[in-house]
């Protein structure tokens, strides 16, 4: 296996002075942490060739010039009648190569290629409308926690790294994307029903102004979620950081506190708060039974 080659390492990627070097170094240092959550999952690149101040684009198809050790997996998309060769974030070389491609954010599918049509993660995606603060996100997260508990489900919260919060639910690869989406939609409706002032499942932005959007449609096939420990292309280089429920329920979370400078230190003291994700299994049946 040839070593990845890096280029333009002094290029400024975050205006506060972080360069492409820092981007690659982060993914190299954090590889052991992040790879378990990327392995065998189709990966969507969000590339910023000129750093966070420049244009970006999503890229699904693995470029032809990729080194041979970048593993890929073909996925057929019926809607576009196309097969896309997705990159799999299977090793540290791929991760740092992606960083060298200006890929700041790592977005991955909720299923693995072994059971591509059966997701092994369900997600509660809390996405505040513009202007809605993180305090409201935490308030809805507390309701989500309660609702999950009522159905005997165990979820793992993390900051999105931007303004939102994600709860990942480990699942056995038994239900289809449609079933998981329906189950997560049912869960979201319970929450919206008790707190319609602050929670919404309206897809139209104008209709959920001032509210937290429970984007259960993120569970659909072909969607990807920002991976735990992925950097975000935002000022301060924040990271999508796993949280404890205690932190969430105490409303003691400031997403900007978790960033390229602080994340590894936090992991040293708290450990990998997502480690339990791989040891837990959930049963969606009690929730699916209530889907109309």
């Amino acid at each position: 296996m040839s070593e990845p080659e890096f280029s333009h390492l002094t290029k400024v990627f975050w205006p506060e002075g972080l360069t492409k070097y820092h981007l690659i170094k982060y993914y190299s240092d954090a590889a052991g942490l992040i790879l378990p959550y990327l392995k065998h999952r189709p990966l969507v690149m969000k590339r910023y060739p000129d750093g966070i101040g420049g244009d970006f684009f999503y890229q699904k198809e693995c470029p032809a010039y990729a080194p041979a050790w970048v593993e890929t997996f073909p996925v057929y998309h019926a809607d576009s009648r196309k097969t896309v060769n997705y990159i799999l974030g299977n090793n540290v070389e791929t991760l740092t190569w992606l960083a060298n491609q200006g890929c700041i954010e790592m977005h991955a599918w909720l299923s693995r290629v072994e059971h591509l049509e059966y997701p092994d993660i369900g997600v509660v995606d809390l996405d505040p409308a513009p202007g809605v603060g993180f305090a409201d996100v935490l308030e809805i997260a507390a309701l989500a926690h309660q609702a999950l508990e009522e159905f005997g489900l165990k979820g793992f919260p993390k900051t999105s790294g931007a303004t939102g919060l994600h709860v990942f639910l480990p699942l056995p690869p038994r239900w289809t994307f449609k079933e998981v989406t329906a189950a997560m939609g049912r869960l979201a409706r319970f929450i919206v029903a008790v707190h319609p002032k602050k929670a919404s499942i309206e897809r139209q932005l104008a209709k959920r102004h001032g509210k937290v959007y429970l984007d259960y449609l993120q569970n659909a096939r072909g969607r990807s979620m920002v991976s735990p420990y992925s950097l975000r292309a935002l000022p301060g280089a924040p990271v999508s950081a796993p949280l404890t429920w205690e932190e969430v329920l105490a409303k003691d979370v400031r997403p900007q506190d978790f960033n390229i400078h602080t994340l590894l230190q936090r992991v040293e003291t708290h450990g990998d708060l997502y480690a339990g994700l791989r040891k837990t299994t959930n049963d969606l049946e009690p929730l699916l039974e209530l889907v109309e």
Partner: protein, 276 residues
């Protein structure tokens, strides 16, 4: 005090260089709007509901709504083309009797002070106005807005009042309450006149103080002294607990209803609605 404008009064061939000072100031006590729950000052965002994004100043243009929902956009250049020339002059049109101007026309007062080399002309103009008992009606452009103004001597200074244009003053004839004919008895009028005369006094502005403002300041002082001070705080969990209960109940109810329907499916007859 600092002058905020320099120019000249002009009438006929005479030019009187002057500086302009604001003659009045507001003493309103201003409040900050806080979010009631956490006592954080609220922010105002310019928001576009279609693009679902906050809008910066550079992204804003002026539109005029000529009919409901339809706008013409006026660019900065369009407005500049018709804006009054920054003539820097107070052009006197007429000299009139002060009593002829209804105070309803007066908007804001400014002091005019003589500018460099203008001392003599200034005093001359002021004294001539005093002797004739006439005040000047003038046209002036302040801050890109043209307005009417009245100039009058007041002690050692010339005061300029900006004035409304006649079409900005509503007609009292539009008040329906004044349409009725009222007959007054001569005795009633005499009594009212005597009452007024008994309350007649010289105008002494220092007599009148803003009692509301004083009371408000006192209240604020007391609140600070009594530590009844609000600082941004973390939201209380009280309401959330109630929501938790509501959530639990609604999920339990949904499970029960489901259970009831399934129990019904086992029977041969269609499930009956529970009446208990």
């Amino acid at each position: 005090m600092r002058p905020f404008w320099k120019g000249a009064i002009s009438f006929g061939l005479v030019n009187v260089p002057v500086k302009l000072y604001a003659a009045t100031e507001e003493h309103d006590i201003r409040f900050t709007y806080l979010h009631a729950r956490c006592k954080t000052p609220v922010q105002y965002h310019k928001y576009c509901p279609i693009c679902a994004t906050d809008v910066t100043q550079e992204e804003i243009v002026r539109g005029y709504e000529y009919e409901k929902g339809k706008y013409v956009v006026l660019q900065e250049e369009d407005l500049e083309a018709i804006s009054p020339e920054a003539s820097r002059s107070i052009d006197i049109i007429d000299f009139v009797d002060l009593k002829e101007i209804d105070p309803i026309y007066f908007v804001k007062a400014y002091y005019l002070a003589p500018a460099e080399m203008g001392q003599k002309a200034y005093v001359l103009l002021k004294q001539a106005m005093e002797e004739t008992g006439r005040i000047a009606v003038a046209r002036v452009s302040l801050r890109a807005k043209q307005s009417l103004a009245a100039l009058r001597p007041s002690g050692k200074v010339l005061v300029m009042n900006t004035m409304l244009y006649p079409d900005e003053v509503r007609s009292a004839a539009e008040l329906p309450e004044l349409a009725a004919e009222v007959k007054l008895h001569q005795n009633e009028v005499e009594m009212a006149v005597r009452l007024i005369e008994s309350l007649a006094a010289a105008f002494d502005p220092s007599k009148y103080t803003n009692e509301y403002r004083a009371a408000l300041l006192e209240l604020i002082e007391a609140k600070i002294a009594g530590q009844e001070v609000e600082v941004p705080a973390k939201p209380e969990p009280g309401k959330v607990v109630d929501l938790m209960e509501a959530l639990k109940k609604s999920i339990e109810l949904a499970k029960k209803e489901k259970g009831a329907v399934e129990a019904g499916e086992g029977e041969k007859e269609p499930p009956r609605r529970k009446t208990s």
